[in-house]
Subunit: 348 residues, 4 copies
């Protein structure tokens, strides 16, 4: 990550604010109740029930942890034998932005190329086919994220195809849902939470980037993977003494559909931003699918925008322009989108 | 840990409540400010400055993480080469209650016996002396906790002696401060925070058990151990996207000495409990030094107490009695201590 | 290990010579035959067949590796999940003399005290009972060695009892057979190779200390542990390109019972040594059971013996005497035992 | 590796025979001398002296281990901190054929594309430039092999350039010398052993593929990397009780230049094979540089050759032909090359 601006944080990422006020209110209301530690509290139990209901998986095993890298390393270290590896897009979070967390648990990531951030069945099959004997690692899992690092969203047919190639090759399918809320409310998406839970072996539902202070819900959908899971969580330092802190947040997010409303808001603002940018004559790397959009601007325009807004430069496109990444969130005011578009207008 | 009661949590542990109200207030007040992620926010910076000032170490390196096991495994994995080991009391948290977190990073714990939970220079020297060549692990660090698992508190002379044996043998000294607040405000203690920071190479200051929702401040006092530390934190899944969450809490705890006031309250209630228990004719395993006390009761009394209060049974003492562990906290009302003593009175 | 003498190696250990001449001859005879690499050669196949026959386990899975630490770390890392641990005597090789090899694969060793080097069912049960939940490691295997580090040999009833406590608690039983030849030909032993193979889940048969240049045969008796084993061997760097080197040696050792004849010779010389020492008025720490004996001599006698013979000092016994360890081997000439006894005579 | 033929092993690899007869003779001659264990014997000392002399590095630290994967994992695990990674060609042995041995020690391999099996300074710099902060692994070492997996040989200028880019970026340079003999006697090479030792931080000299039964000499040229190295060797199960076995072999290989003569023989036969193949009208993927050559044959010719000779198919080249890999060794009789060429003649 490049250096972030100090003045105006705007469209830099989706974790610059704290929590949705309802979450803080819930933490306050329950603050002095005594609860049992280590995730065995009533708030975590309530949250897990709500989640199981929302995903139509009455027996799913759910563990609340504090962050995405933690969820990923626990899940993958739990399901892989020492010589087994996980397939991921070269742009995947575990392949780029986790400081080698997966390898630190002893496992190789088999990276596959991907233009849009998604892993395809063809690429999975190619990795499996290339690993033929015990001189090589044995691919055993596929890691995907939804939304991907490039802002794209898997459709049901894509996930069906991935699930099929996994089953055919004895692979487990793991989904990193840091931005799952955005994926489930995407204008191009056709999957709901039960549809995710049915198609993957384990996944996590991201709270941090969708209204929580912190917290991810790791879901073990496949019953054969559940044994001893709390040991894994504890051993990696992820079993919070006050598990209620994450439990209370997920309980709030999954009552009254707050989780989905927050995600939809972020997507809507991204969509408005994209449309406004296109209306002013600029293209996008891809059509907007989530809360991450990638417009292409000339260098001078980028410099002008940076005087008031913060964002990541994503990729050079031609000699005098770049794609930038604009992230919206549950907390992005509609007015800030207007400000951005108005400011863009002045740079034409 | 044995099963905890569902009705009345009382003296079971020191992490049954949420956070001190000032902390929740601070989280609310700063909630919608935009902050840079991953611990580079202004709240974390403010908290680190306050901590450095409080420990009189203007250059200490400080990393905020979410729990004690996480702090321990990051610190020890960071400072040990693959073949190096850490010496700890057999009752130490890393030796008993972390599900093998240290070994999972590749390192042996050399356990030493300890009657009072403390590690002595003699035991350290004996381990060093017994490890003579490359067929054995090479002891390189000493792990202690203050308060210990048995509720005892190190005095300055003890820490000086440990520090001396470490220096003489090329060992690094690491202090687990899950209950450091209680140690620093102990009626038998003579160490302040600068005194701790001067005597150890690295340590953590526990927030979770002293008024925070969650969070520990890992302090790298020894400048030779600082290189690359953020990589270790990230790799173990401990670098929170919203680092502000822990930053805000430590900023609150170390303004106006809240941290010390909370710890002192817990110690005072433990002291009152101990005195009341002794006044009613019961002994203690050891004189109270912290917020953990270990009174000895006959079985019938224990059964009677359990009808209204929750606590751990600690150790069998003779044929018809046991020591139990009573934990107080920043949130223990003085009236609950009175209730306990009154109820005890009825059981005589 | 203390420093070894340079002049006269005698009774220092059982790996000071090269290989039995029959083994060198076999290596020479087969030297220029072309064989497939990585253990798929005809010599390894022949050796595995001989071993399966000798242990009456027609389906045992057998892997040839180069040393004991390697065999131990591969076997244990293969059968343990990340949070699982192995129980061993505090004097066990993995607990003392493997530089943390087991922990380097991520696993704790639960050490139990043992007077004679053996692990008892009671000690195993106590460890299991003390590990009650996911805050602790989960004991999953028991490591024993036969002969033990203290020269003792398990009897069938002892192994039956250990096997029973393992089965009752869902533990796997692993036997380190660095000196298994000596155990199987022990004057006090009542177990043969089939008896070993029936009672444990996996074990290794030591070649290095019984006539081979190098090599151990790792035997996976329990069929549920066989899957993917060659991956483990390869990943730990133990799959020799020229697997024939170890295969040829085990083929030689298990044709015409050479393995047993060599071990019996070592035991016989140890027995003669023990009897001669006792006849000259000195005691032993324990009755001789294997090729390792532990006589007790006054300091002056030890000094006198060291002028001509090399051996380890084992333990201080009283104020003016120590137990020493005398090791015999397949290569110990009977005359050297006579020399030792004659020299001892001169020191009376 | 695909399945190897059982009938005629010929050009399949360079480890199908045992050892050069001089090596077996040395093992026999020294067989019954008593030697100290664990690499502290006189044969290992003699071999290390010869090696230090041959590489003109009087203080190099030398450790004898049993195989290449073992050497690689020990060396890299020893020099990398937990968050550090190693850069290697995507075709490199550690990246393909070691079953994840490096990741099992906790480290990522940053794979770079390479047409000829070599790592270029440009690719190294690109990896370094792409890893900018603590969210990513930190590249700290470069792994190369010489001869590469594709049979190519580094020239001095190439190694100088690699060494320069390493020094400029704080990277350590490690060379896998499984076929170093072939590289040092290559018709296109201009490096001798001192030239290798001066340009890299650590490397190993392969014995297994150049006349030994087994064994590699791991050389720590950079004095800052030597501390505690025997611990690493022991912990990974690589410290042979009878270290003499490898010591004796390297002592033999480096007396009278046997090592170089054997390698030169292999190269000469490969060169003859290449010339004969070209004379019969077939091309090669690349000009022969080592004992591995890659001729391109039509499918029908390959089928015909396989009736008498064994070799790996390497890569499909066009619709009706493939490149195959022919490996010669110290033991390849000149007559077998003639046989191959004559047989090829019959297939025209």
């Amino acid at each position: 990550m490049s250096t972030a601006p100090t003045h105006q944080h705007a469209f830099f990422d989706d974790y610059s604010e704290g929590a949705h006020p309802d979450i803080l209110r819930r933490l306050s209301e329950t603050n002095l109740n005594q609860e049992i530690g280590y995730g065995e509290d009533r708030l975590s139990a309530r949250a897990a029930d709500l989640l199981r209901n929302a995903m139509a998986q009455p027996n799913a095993d759910i563990h609340f942890v504090t962050g995405g890298t933690q969820a990923n390393l626990i899940a993958l270290a739990a399901i892989l034998k020492p010589y087994e590896s996980v397939i991921a897009a070269a742009s995947g979070h575990i392949a780029v932005h986790e400081a080698g967390a997966i390898e630190a648990t002893g496992h190789r990531i088999n990276q596959v190329e991907s233009e849009d951030g998604k892993v395809t069945p063809q690429r999975v099959q190619a990795v499996v086919d290339a690993h033929t004997d015990e001189h090589m690692v044995k691919p055993r899992a596929v890691y995907i994220s939804n939304v991907t690092e490039l802002g794209t969203v898997y459709r049901a047919a894509e996930l069906d195809a991935l699930s099929a190639v996994c089953k055919a090759n004895g692979l487990l399918l793991y989904l990193d849902g840091a931005r799952l809320g955005s994926a489930l409310t995407s204008p191009v998406g056709d999957l709901d939470l039960p549809g995710i839970a049915r198609r993957v072996d384990l996944f996590y539902i991201g709270g941090t980037k969708n209204g929580a202070l912190l917290g991810e819900a790791l879901v073990i959908a496949n019953p054969r993977l559940r044994e001893g899971f709390r040991y894994h969580v504890k051993q990696r330092g992820a079993l919070l003494a006050k598990g209620r802190v994450v439990g209370a947040q997920f309980a709030t997010l999954f009552e009254d559909d707050l989780f989905f409303r927050l995600a939809r808001h972020a997507n809507t603002q991204a969509q408005r931003l994209a449309e406004g940018i296109q209306a002013r004559g600029f293209g996008l790397l891809a059509q907007p699918q989530s809360n991450l959009i990638f417009p292409i601007f000339p260098d001078a325009v980028i410099a002008g925008l940076r005087r008031r807004f913060a964002f990541h430069t994503w990729a050079r496109v031609g000699t005098d322009r770049s794609a930038v990444r604009l992230a919206t969130s549950w907390a992005t005011p509609a007015g800030r989108v207007d400000d951005f578009l108005n400011h863009l207008e002045t740079l034409l």
